[in-house]
Subunit: 230 residues, 2 copies
DNA sequence: GGCTCCAGAATTGGATCCAATAATGGATCC
DNA sequence: GGATCCATTATTGGATCCAATTCTGGAGCC
């Protein structure tokens, strides 16, 4: 169960691959907020033509991740502090609903969560922040998906992606966060094991405000994450 | 202020126009859930080439409105009762947050809301349900936008679109709804005038459950809205 | 009569091509 | 020296083209 990648290189179409690749470049901070995206450069970088790149860029724009200006092109959208806080407002509102709808988890599901959390700990000790980020997402969405509220989960997936760059920056910046995350996940697993929804919601709220306020000060401090041109 | 159209035919790019056109065809029920979309037919219908049509279709897929299968094409996604209810769950969660964040509205804003509501009443007496639908959306989003929570409002816009087809069917089906909507909007304007957020939230909740349960039975009854091929 | 298989048609997927628009940089004028 | 204007360049926008895949329908077989 180690390779739960989104690497759908198989049989999935070039634009889907480009979309995934762009998301990966975003969370790995290869693309930074404010940066301009050149269609031809991307096409060359990914070994495809401009046509699928354009479709993929259009998708990311509709997801609210890229900014688009006609005859000018796409840039990575920059979030203000207020906008970043809105993503966390939405997360709290929707995640609470999802957690409240959670049925009792099976032992297998709980074991999987524990396993992912151990993988996070391992990646954290190696300072592999990209992997930490990816596994952290996987942990939370394993929980969300157990609710069966697939449309809400889809929406949450979209909302999470809005702040990916900033959460990556946070993970890279705050060394203490890594241990804290693993520990808090452990507490969540306990709450899930006992079917204590309200406790779980409280833990998640706390989990969120931790990173939220941290990223807030990070955003308020240095005017923004800046971007050079390649 | 009558022509608050989304008709950005001006200077806005062909794909944006196609995206809008598709949304319009969806709410006007020219496109029905389950229906397949032929790229070439759409291109001919809209007087453009297939390239921008494909980008637009990809956008609607990423919005969760269309279903896509590689080498097969796009179809209008069908919502199950459970999925439809999830859209209303999300609306309640997010709209409550937005309404709670609402500042006192200006007299001008209140007047505009009243004016839109009167237009709804007029369109309703003419049984112009497409216009009723459009103006109803405009009414609610005028309120939402006053919150200044632009990212949340964007998200709500997306969520509303998920159920457009079904809400149109409901409006067309239930003759009583038209008067009820206008009346309830009036009560909302009153609550807004007095700055009574909690009352407003209660009214909105009631407003939603009305149409929600109605569409629910409509969906549970006839297996689904069906679609012929043109 | 019904099922299987194959060939033709229809449709999508990706690449390429040309026009239109905006960014760039240098020459000219004040 | 600095600002303005214009030609050049770079980049995007939309249309067209060809290959690959799926759907359709009819012939043949059981």
């Amino acid at each position: 169960m180690a390779g739960t990648e989104q690497a759908q290189s198989e049989q999935a179409g070039v634009v889907a691959k480009v979309v995934d690749e762009l998301h990966a470049m975003l969370t790995s901070m290869e693309l930074l907020p404010g940066q301009a995206l050149r269609q031809e450069a991307l096409a060359a970088r990914l070994g495809v033509s401009r046509a699928p790149v354009r479709e993929a860029l259009r998708v990311l724009e509709s997801e609210g991740i890229l900014h688009y200006e006609r005859n000018v092109g796409y840039t990575v959208k920059r979030l203000t502090v207020a906008e970043f806080e809105q993503t966390y407002l939405m997360r709290r509102a929707l995640e609470s609903e999802v957690l409240r709808a959670l049925p009792p988890l099976t032992e297998a599901q709980l074991g999987q969560l524990d396993q992912v959390n151990q993988q996070i700990e391992r990646a954290a000790t190696l300072s592999d922040m990209v992997t930490v980020h990816r596994l952290n997402d996987e942990f939370h969405f394993l929980v969300f998906q157990a609710s069966g509220l697939d449309l809400v989960v889809d929406e949450l997936r979209r909302i999470w992606k809005l702040s990916n760059s900033y959460r990556s920056a946070y993970l890279l910046h705050d060394r203490g966060a890594r241990q804290r995350i693993v520990h808090e996940h452990g507490a969540m697993i306990e709450a899930l094991r006992h079917g204590d929804s309200e406790q779980l919601i409280a833990l998640m709220d706390n989990h969120r405000v931790g990173t939220s306020t941290q990223v807030g000060v990070l955003l308020a401090g240095s005017t923004d994450l800046e971007s050079p041109s390649s």
